[in-house]
């Protein structure tokens, strides 16, 4: 199949390899932005203002890239849960779903692994995360139940 055929057939992004690459690009850029920010702080502490300045600017730029990836993914759903996103009420549902997943499954499982390997402090950190994530889900849930009325009152 040549390129012209591909265009004529209007390829489906959802589930495609490109979709998967976009999700990965979103992960990579998001994590890169945080890495830059973290290391910028370290540079500031060391008194390396110029290095800190550049790292901070790169962090900002990386965040724009991450959101660029999200621009391209959002039409076919949330990159984390796959749930449809668009309007805020819908977005809240996607966020609640991922926070519950993290609070109930992801972090508790990480905690178990850490505990089994003897990293008790790290296990506690993951458990602390699980609790706060469940709290986030609850906060989002309250907002979601109030609907758009929450912003009109």
């Amino acid at each position: 199949m040549n390129t012209t055929d591909a265009i004529r057939q209007a390829p489906e992004l959802k589930g495609s390899a490109t979709h998967e690459r976009l999700r990965r690009a979103f992960d990579v850029a998001s994590r890169s932005a945080q890495r830059y920010l973290y290391l910028a702080t370290m540079a500031e502490i060391e008194g390396r203002s110029n290095a800190a300045g550049l790292l901070r600017e790169l962090a900002e730029t990386e965040a724009v890239h991450a959101q660029g990836h999200l621009d391209l993914i959002r039409g076919v759903g949330d990159p984390v849960t796959g749930l449809p996103i668009g309007e805020t009420d819908q977005n809240l549902d996607a966020l609640i779903s991922s926070e519950i997943e993290e609070g109930e499954t992801v972090y508790p499982s990480m905690a178990r692994t850490a505990r089994a390997e003897g990293f008790l402090d790290i296990a506690d950190w993951f458990e602390t995360m699980a609790k706060v994530k469940r709290g986030f889900a609850a906060r989002l849930g309250e907002l979601s139940e109030m609907g758009s009325g929450a912003d009109r009152s």
Partner: protein, 658 residues
């Protein structure tokens, strides 16, 4: 440098300070409408900024060589008078504005001598808000000018002149007096001007400008102080170190004048851990430092390493890191330059590659020869930095080591002994809570033990908790792992044993009560020591345990990071439900909890060997950048001096063995 160029181009003779030297830039009305844009915010900080701005003008006169005395008086009515013996603000007619020059200065934003490079080569008020902002934000302001043998006066209300410049009479003195009343419409509520806060700044200025005498009087309470320090920056450093033990006698002192920029530096190392570095640009504190400090640190690290290598004070491959050199260092760096570029939200960071490079070169040059000439001091400083480096590595090892031992279901006693043995030297000074009386009383008040009962204070430290039960029980036994701690506890308790909480050296069911405080988070698998406590209690015996807990799940991760950076041996950041579950899991019943909050000085708390210097900085950052959600639930405050006070939620649990 721009100073030289600007001076050349300027036609105004430097010493002529009259109406011609007042430049006019646009309007003032906006100040009252949006004071935040000019003074940061209409809060306590903004209010004090008004005084600083007027004082800065007097300092400019001093920098230009015309002022020796400044007096600040806080009136009984909350007003403020700032008076200097400088040249006096010009009162002659300003050509362009067709008004007296002083009125132009007081009623026009960005008007004043300091906007004309010929009048003041270097001006203190780098914020450049000018005294007109102070006028705009004052209910009334009275200006008295003593100049050319005459006393002039003009009155203003909310930024506008309400009288002409009146001649009051002859006068043989010289200077400017500004008496203003901060406008209550703008600065609502609050406690007015703080003598303490003003004193801090006046003291600082008197150190930075050793020729000047600043007096401060507070008519509300009779406070009367005079700041005049001939010793300048070295005295400033000595003042900062007044309660610390210093590593070497005189501070290292440097004054350099390069390309129109003046750099003055004072450095002195202490035997403590706290790093205390103040930086100034044109006498204004740059709390976020910037290029001048970067230059200093870079030169200091490079020169120290070169010196240490040259004298073979380092092992092969060893290198002193900036963070380790900063531990225990007290320093003041003050630079003066024309047109400094300041950045950051509050304009408290200098950004100038050129200034940074000049500082770096000057410091490197000076420090190299200083170290050569003072080898004994150099050896001490290098030794101190290497010690800091080893402690940093040890802190990392401590938590790794403890993890390793857990895998073997053993607790490495040495790790705890070394961590707390060193700290025992200044145990009670190491934080507020240890000897906080209300907190100790909260533990003792929970007692339901018989008056002749036997109490065990486990991990007793210096024994203060156990001792607070004196009179409520018959006999108090302590137990601690660290010999130094046990020694201290013996002065307070009836008997103290050395031992490990994981295998308490007592028979089953012998104690009427067990008490412990802020220990379980340091112990891997806390259910094991809690089971031991349960075992040694008589049936019906009481366990009283105090612990700092987060206010909720939201501040828990933030506290986790703060506490782990402070003390690498932390294993658990308990939340209330965890603590209850821990007690219930061991078989305890009738669990009750009382709560109280205690303000803790974070600066004091992290001033210890167990916290590496880089972690101290990171902890400060965590407070500086705490997210709103955290700040909403967890109160803390960062004082104008940078000191951090954190509100800790102390929970005292009482539980009974059935």
């Amino acid at each position: 440098m721009s100073t030289a160029k600007r001076s050349d181009n300027n036609k105004t003779p430097r010493l002529a300070y009259d109406a011609k030297s007042i430049t006019v830039l646009p309007g003032l009305e906006a100040v009252r409408r949006r004071p935040g844009m000019y003074i940061g915010a209409a809060d306590a900080k903004g209010l004090h900024h008004l005084v600083f701005e007027v004082v800065d003008n007097a300092i400019d006169e001093s920098l230009a060589g015309f002022c020796e005395r400044i007096s600040v008086v806080i009136g009984g009515d909350g007003s403020c008078v700032v008076e200097d013996d400088g040249r006096g603000i010009p009162v002659d007619l300003h050509d362009e504005e067709n008004k007296p020059a002083c009125e132009v200065v007081l009623t026009t934003l960005h008007a004043g001598g300091k906007f004309d490079a010929g009048t003041y080569g270097i001006a203190a008020g780098i914020h450049g808000i000018g005294v007109s902002t102070v006028n705009a934000l004052s209910e009334w302001l009275v200006l008295d000018v003593f100049r050319d043998g005459t006393h002039h006066r003009q009155r203003y209300e909310r930024g506008s002149a309400v009288s002409p410049v009146d001649t009051i009479g002859d006068s043989d003195r010289r200077g400017t007096r500004i008496h203003f009343m901060p406008d209550a419409e703008i600065f609502e509520g609050g406690e007015g001007l703080s003598g303490e806060r003003l004193a801090g700044r006046m003291r600082e200025l008197a150190f930075l400008e050793p020729g000047i005498e600043i007096s401060l009087r507070d008519e509300r309470n009779g406070r009367d102080e005079r700041f005049c320090f001939a010793g300048g920056i070295p005295s400033f450093v000595e003042y900062m170190n007044r309660t610390r033990k210093v590593l070497h006698e005189a501070p290292i002192h440097m004054v350099e004048q390069v390309n129109g920029m003046r750099i003055e530096l004072g450095l002195q190392w202490t035997t403590g851990y706290a790093e205390d570095l103040s930086s100034f640009v044109n006498h204004v504190r740059t709390s976020d430092h910037g290029s001048h400090v970067d230059g200093l640190l870079s030169a200091m690290t490079r020169v120290m390493n070169e010196h240490a290598l040259g004298r073979r004070l380092l092992e092969k491959g060893e290198r002193i890191q900036t963070m380790d050199l900063l531990e225990g260092m007290t320093g003041v760096i003050s630079v003066q330059l024309a047109d400094p570029q300041l950045e950051g939200q509050t304009k408290t960071r200098l950004r100038s590659d050129e200034a940074g490079a000049i500082v770096e070169e000057a410091v490197a040059h000076h420090l190299t020869s200083y170290l050569e000439e003072n080898r004994a001091v150099a050896t001490k400083i290098v030794g101190r930095a290497l010690e800091a480096q080893r402690a940093r590595i040890a802190a990392r090892r401590a938590s790794e080591q403890a993890r390793y031992e857990v895998a073997r279901a053993e607790v490495n006693e040495d790790v705890y002994r070394s961590q707390f043995g060193i700290r025992s030297q200044n145990w009670h000074e190491s934080c507020t809570w240890l000897t906080h009386e209300n907190l100790l009383e909260a533990h003792a008040a929970a007692s339901k033990m018989p008056e002749d009962g036997l109490l065990l204070d486990v991990c007793c430290g210096s024994g203060v908790v156990g001792a607070s039960f004196r009179g409520r029980v018959g006999r108090i036994v302590g137990l601690d792992l660290t010999p130094q701690m046990a020694e201290m506890a013996r002065t307070r308790l009836d008997e103290v044993q050395l031992g490990n909480i994981y295998k308490l050296p007592f028979e089953e069911g012998v104690f009427d009560g067990v008490v412990t405080r802020e220990v379980l988070h340091l112990l891997p698998e806390p259910e094991r020591p809690v089971a031991q406590i349960f075992r040694v209690l008589k049936p019906g015996g009481q366990f009283i345990v105090g612990h700092i807990l987060p206010f909720g799940p939201i501040d828990a991760p933030w506290m986790w990071r703060v506490f782990k950076k402070k003390q690498p041996l932390i294993f658990t950041m308990f939340q209330e439900e965890d603590f209850r579950a821990l007690l219930e899991g061991a078989g305890f019943v009738d669990i009750e909890m009382t709560e109280q909050t205690v303000w803790e000085s974070i600066d004091l708390w992290i001033d210890t060997h167990e916290t590496p210097n880089i972690h101290r900085h990171e902890i400060r950052r965590l407070f500086d950048t705490a997210p709103k959600m955290v700040r909403d639930v967890h109160p803390f405050e960062i004082l104008p001096t940078g000191e951090i006070r954190d509100l800790w939620r102390w929970c005292v649990f009482s539980a009974r063995k059935p």
